[in-house]
Symmetry: C2
Subunit: 248 residues, 2 copies
């Protein structure tokens, strides 16, 4: 299985790509050495983005997708009254930029919440390779569709949950994503401020703070600044109604 491919180090793959939503792209099962090389050549493997830096802005011409290798991003839109809406947070292995395909320009700002690394996937090359390599094509479609589903979930959350439930849903969602990454699902550190959480969930910062307090008082979680411990994960999950899936 481990064919000798120039410039490809399986150890690096293990760390970086194994949880990536596009791993089929970088090291798909059944990919030939030849194909792998071709992929390797077009992906820029580690562009650093430091905390607070903008990876791309709303309206920038769309050129590439970005896969988060390490770190965390927020995607946001600013309304002209100066208010921020955070459309999502991106953890390692997740993609940025899918909204750019629609109108050949990005529809959000992508901002690093901590020092991060991204893979750069030039889009036209990606489309070209996808044509020659059906599993990759299908994987790309799945990734886009998952983003659609994720956003549906957020819409449902915004349309039907109360403040405390929204915050609980966010925590459960982050928990699942950290588990998938092989990190602790019960102990993690929030990379975003209360305000960013509020701007994602459609709540004011004070309401977010009080929601944390209430969940904490019920013994469901333990909160210390940005450090979170899920004490009663199941109860937390149940407090949402199982229909609300939390994929993002």
């Amino acid at each position: 299985m481990t064919t000798a491919v120039p410039g490809f180090d399986p150890k690096v793959f293990k760390e970086i790509c194994s949880t990536c939503s596009l791993r089929e792209l970088c090291v798909p099962g059944g990919i030939t050495a030849d194909e792998l090389e071709r992929l390797d050549n077009f992906v820029e493997r580690r562009r650093p983005v430091s905390r607070g830096e903008t990876l791309y802005r709303t309206g920038d011409p769309f050129r590439a997708l970005y896969a988060v290798r390490s770190g965390t991003f927020k995607a946001r839109v600013m309304s002209d009254n100066g208010r921020e809406h955070v459309t999502g947070f991106q953890l390692p292995g997740e993609l940025l930029g899918l909204d750019g395909v629609a109108y050949d320009k990005y529809g959000v700002d992508a901002i690093a919440l901590e020092d991060s690394l991204v893979c750069v996937l030039p889009y036209t090359a990606l489309e070209r390779i996808a044509r020659d390599f059906p599993p990759l094509q299908h994987q790309l479609h799945k990734v886009m569709s998952r983003e659609i589903v994720r956003e549906q979930d957020v819409m449902t959350l915004l349309a039907s949950l109360r403040a405390e439930e929204r915050v609980a849903a966010l925590l459960v969602g982050l928990s699942e994503r950290y588990r998938r990454l092989g990190y602790s699902a019960t102990n993690f550190v929030l990379r975003m401020t209360r305000e960013e959480i509020g701007n994602h969930l459609g709540l004011k910062i004070e309401t977010v703070s009080r929601a944390f307090r209430k969940l904490s008082d019920q013994g469901l979680v333990r909160i210390d600044g940005r450090k979170v411990e899920l004490v009663e994960e199941d109860a937390l999950r149940r407090s949402l109604g199982t229909a609300v899936v939390t994929r993002g």
Copy 2:
């Protein structure tokens, strides 16, 4: 340009496909007669769905995308407490089922709000043809990305607008879509109930009703049951803040 192709009637195309989000699929610019025939063979061109009927249900195995030819649909999820969330309304030329790719099953129920016709686009065939026909591939990606952007807009709406603004945004959005279809952008009939509007916008039916009333009192719109007239379209638009785009 009008090559003689068996089974293809340009007049029918004009009526049906010219505003379709997948028109590149059915009659792309620059498509050869050969390719067109191939497309023609795999698309089922007019499946009727009568009012209230379900086109597909949450969890049904994903097989096909559907393009609305005539009529209107709602896409919805039911939470287990029995509450409905309407993720969107689909007008002629718009697509249903993109969420199904992600997990090989549909993520919503698609229900006709009036007697409707859809085109059926079997998905595996679509992927296959897209590989051989780059403009179609790109168009498919654009359509998926537009759905992502549309949902981002709805999320922003839900997270930041007040009741009256949400209703105004819906009306402006419908207006634009009817204009694109060649219908009046200022006079149209709502195909959905107040309750469905509320379940889309995260509002109760009474609140929707009162929002209509207020917009009406301000002279921005005229409402008679489901008949809507946009009297001051610009003012209505301005009442939203221009950053809130309303694509669906």
